[in-house]
Every structure is written in structure tokens, then in C-alpha cells.
Amino acid sequence: MAEPLLSVERVSRRFGGLLALDAASLSAPAGRITALIGPNGAGKTTLFAVISGFLKPSAGRIRYGGEDVTGEPAHRLARRGIARTFQIVQPFGGISVRDNILVGAYLRHAARADAVGVAETVGREVGLGDLLDRPAHTLTVAGRKRLELARALATAPQLLLLDEVLAGLNPAEIRDIVPVIRALCARGIAVIMIEHVMQAVMSLSEHVFVLAEGRIIAEGSPAQVVADAGVVEAYLGRGAAARIGSTHAH
């Protein structure tokens, strides 16, 4: 099997006395959606921060596109094609939606005219076509999520890290944004999504990794993982699996 686009190998991250990530490993193939789930405080966003270059790992390696990119800073990884959204949305509030996306587009297009064209195209793709002139701070939460996505997409990434992009959206908004995410894979982009919205995890992702207390405790297809006793216990507490009577013990 060809090497996956991203390979996180036994990455650990320590903050003083706290071991936030403990030899976590995962991989993401191109053109597929991979989910990263786990209870709150498991370290999922920390793992994203390490993969996207905002934090250096204390141990372990990260291989991307066949190269070792461990420890490279965020902006360098973005140029390599790793893009991320933030759990708490971070729009460039004072400027327009178009200008927000433009910053991303400028990564691959130095000329303003080209970059604006790309920004408007991407803006329309995620459904913000009518709002391009609005100041970003006037958008609703759903709009800001779309903007996060648009900005990241404008950098023409090969790997997209989505950190709880569905959080705070109502069912109708989720229903509207899911096809946009699915369309990304058709373009060959590898997507890793941190998600708590289980319906999305089940329907969108092909492979799931479960992180709990900094460790990967399970991986597999959505159906496999959800039935795994260890996973159930990570979410619901010790003994829960037995009480619920799951079929696979680990």
C-alpha cells in the first residue's frame, strides 16, 4: 500500500509535568476523511497543534509527503500544503470576508488579481458568495465556520485539519456544510476532522482514531470503533462497557 500522505509516529508532548500526548500515532491517506475522536481533554487539539507546526513535539516524528517535517514552523508547513481551522474561530475581524480569504489565496498567487479571483471562487464554493463584501466580524457563527474553511481552502492544501468545524451549528447548518466537506476528498485532499458530532463522524469518515488521555486507544472503521469496549469506557467511565454489554472486549 502506498505511504499515507501524513504519518504521525509516536508523538509525545509534555507541558512541564503534564504529558498531553503519549506516543500517539496516526496516519491519513490522500483523498480520504479520517476522524479523530475522544473525550474532552484527551489532547486532540494539542495533536493538531503539533501536526500543523504550532507546537514542537517532545518526542516522535511527523512524516508528510514522504519527508520528515518534525518541528517545522506553522507557516512553512502551510506552504507544504498543511492547512488547519481553529476550534475557536479566528477570523480577521476588521477586514472583509473577501480580504480574509484573500490572505489564504496569496500563499499560492502573488498577483492581486489572480489571488482575488481564487478568493471569490473559494468563497462561493463554501456558500459565502453573497457576503464577500461584509466585514468578517458581522458574520454569524455558521458564517465564520465557513470562512475558516474558505481561508484554509484558498491555500490549496493537500492536508486539511478541521478542528470541530461542526461545533455550534444547528442540524440544518450541519446538513448544509457536510457536502462541502465531502467534496474536498473528491479533489484528492486528505481531511482529518476532530469531531464530537457522531452523526457526522459515522457518515463522513472512513477511518477513525480514538485519543484518550494523550494515547491512541483504538482505531478502525467507525462501526468498529464505536463498538469497542475501551472506547466506550473512555467516554462513559470504567465498567460502562460491561453495563452496556458491548460485543468486542479489548
Binding site: 477586514i95 490572505v103 465564520r144 465557513r146 484554509a152 484558498a154
Partner: protein
């Protein structure tokens, strides 16, 4: 009116002033105002567009002033070359301070503190070092010939500083429309998000700092040529750090015309206060301090910025009087 055309129109209007005005008092006021506008436009690049609030821009102003004076008086260099030398020296100081501060990851309050400290260090050193004339300062020899960058007529000085201001307006305008400018503004709005989009924040901030320092240094060089005297308090004193910061904030940080509008407003207010209550020291700066607080409290986008916001909101209301529910839901 499109950017470059607007700049040309404004500059032309200013350039026409000598046709109607002959009073030296008025020219003096205008020269000082434009000088402060130039220094402020320098601050605007790193502070307004870049969002990094420097409290020590005197470091660049003073370096420009001193280097120009030293090159002429101690090394016999031609005044125009000295001018360029002063700008280059200012830019170099900007590179050093920016390089140290940004590589150390200093942001916000800490950045303000370190720039303040650098300006103070330079001021103290200049007040004791022989090359800067220590406590006495440097006098540039009076030589009212164009080749010495000195002019018989105030009107010519006025046109020279106007040309420099025009150049700074063009620099700001070009920055706004460029990729570098978009990256700089992104760093101001949210540095982490900018980095996630491939922006090398440290390099961008450093580049902006160098440009900013060069522009403010140019103001310092011109100051030296106009007043023919530089000392530590004038060159590196808090007065210029404050005025370089005040005029863009009041006029509109991060806008092309903000520093110019701010300088006109601030200086006019200062003169008005002096006329009204007599030339008592401290009154004008008192008003500036109060003005800063008031502007931050009630019009943080400054004069130009607030005007732009009002126009934008009115335009939006005219464009979309009724929003469909679907559109409202989408965002």
C-alpha cells in the same frame, strides 16, 4: 475616487498653497505639521497596518536627525547624501530593534516596553557621547543653498516636505494593495491564524519595521535640515515618540490619510489652544493626552476610519434592504 488619484489630488491641493499664502508663520506651521505627518506615517506602517504599537519611534527619528547632522558636520558629506545616509541608518536601527524584539516573540505591551527602552538608551547615550555633541548637541552650519539642502524660502522647504509626505502616502497606498500588506494586516488581526495560512509573521513584521523606521527617519533628517540643530532631547525625546503615535491613532490607524489628517487636527488644536490661553508649556500636550483617551474611547478607528465605517454601513444598507431568511441563516 481611486487611491492614487486621491493622493495626487490632495498633494496638488497642498502644493497650490504657496500660490495664495506668503506668511512665514503659516509656512512654519504647515512644515511642522507635515513633518509630524511624515513621522506618523512611519509609525502607521508598523503600528497601524501591523498592529505592533511602538512607544519608541524616537529611536528612528533621532537616528535620522543625528546621522544627517554628523555626516555633514564631522565628515563633510554633502547634505543630500547625508539625508539618504540618515534614512539608511534609521532603517538599520529599525532592523536591529525589530529583529531583536520580533525574534524574541515580543508582542503588545512587552513590545511597547522594549521600544520605549531602546529609545531611552539612545537618548542617554546621545546626551553623553562626544560624536553627538553630548549635552550641547550639533549645529548644522547655515548655508542657504539648495546643494546644502537648505533654502532661502520657507515655501521651498514646504514643497520638499510635501514631496516626502506624498512619497509616504504612495508607500502606504502600495502597501495596502500588495500581498505584503495583506499579510501584515493579517498578522495584526490574528497572528496565529495568519501563520496557519502560510504567513511568516516574524519576517513580515520585521520588513514592516524597517520601512516604518526609514520613513520616520526621513522626518528626522528633514527636521535637522530645517531647524539646523539637534540634541538628545529633540532627537530621542518622548515628545516625538508620542506625536508619531498620536497622529495616526487620531487620524485613523491603518489608513493612508490617517496620519496626515491626524497631524492637521492635532497641530491645529495645539495652535488654537495656544492662541486662546497663551503659550503656556504643557497645554498642547495636555490636550493631546486627553484627545488620545477620547479617541480610543469613542472613535477608535480615528477620524478617517470612522468616516469610512459610516460610509460602508450606509452603502450596505442601500445595497441590501431586505435579507431573505436563507441568506440570514447562512451567515
Amino acid at each position: 475616487m481611486k487611491g492614487p488619484l486621491l493622493i495626487a489630488a490632495v498633494v496638488a491641493a497642498f502644493a497650490a498653497v504657496p500660490l495664495f499664502v506668503h506668511s512665514n508663520v503659516v509656512f512654519n506651521f504647515l512644515v511642522v505639521t507635515l513633518l509630524i505627518a511624515l513621522a506618523g506615517q512611519g509609525w502607521n506602517i508598523i503600528g497601524g497596518y501591523g498592529g505592533q504599537y511602538s512607544f519608541g519611534h524616537a529611536a528612528f527619528f533621532g537616528t535620522g536627525a543625528y546621522v544627517t547632522a554628523i555626516l555633514q558636520m564631522r565628515y563633510g558629506v554633502n547634505a543630500w547624501i547625508g539625508f539618504v545616509g540618515g534614512i539608511a541608518a534609521g532603517a538599520a536601527v529599525g532592523a536591529i530593534i525589530g529583529g531583536l524584539a520580533f525574534r524574541a516573540g515580543l508582542r503588545s505591551s512587552y513590545f511597547a516596553l522594549v521600544t520605549l527602552a531602546f529609545a531611552e538608551v539612545l537618548r542617554i547615550l546621545a546626551s553623553v557621547a562626544p560624536i553627538t555633541g553630548a549635552g550641547v548637541g550639533i549645529l548644522i552650519k547655515l548655508d542657504l543653498r539648495p546643494q546644502s539642502f537648505q533654502f532661502q524660502s520657507r515655501a521651498v522647504f514646504y514643497l520638499v516636505i510635501l514631496a516626502l509626505v506624498a512619497a509616504s502616502l504612495a508607500i502606504a497606498q502600495t502597501l495596502e494593495r500588495s500581498r505584503f500588506g495583506a499579510w501584515l494586516i493579517a498578522v495584526r488581526e490574528n497572528e496565529d491564524a495568519a501563520m496557519a495560512l502560510g504567513v511568516d509573521a516574524t519576517a513580515v513584521k520585521l520588513g514592516a519595521m524597517v520601512i516604518s523606521a526609514a520613513v520616520t527617519a526621513a522626518a528626522g533628517c528633514f527636521y535637522a535640515q530645517y531647524f539646523l540643530f539637534v540634541d538628545a532631547g529633540i532627537a530621542y525625546g518622548p515628545w516625538i515618540s508620542i506625536e508619531a503615535l498620536l497622529t495616526p491613532i487620531i487620524g485613523g490607524a491603518g489608513t493612508v490619510f490617517g496620519p496626515l489628517v491626524g497631524a492637521l487636527a492635532v497641530k491645529a488644536l495645539g495652535e488654537g489652544a495656544k492662541l486662546w490661553t497663551g503659550d503656556v508649556p504643557g497645554l498642547d500636550l495636555m490636550i493631546y493626552g486627553a484627545l488620545l483617551v477620547i479617541v480610543v474611547a469613542f472613535a477608535p478607528a480615528g477620524l478617517v476610519g470612522t468616516l469610512a465605517n459610516v460610509r460602508e454601513r450606509a452603502a450596505r444598507r442601500l445595497r441590501a434592504p431586505r435579507k431573505g431568511r436563507a441568506e440570514a441563516a447562512r451567515g
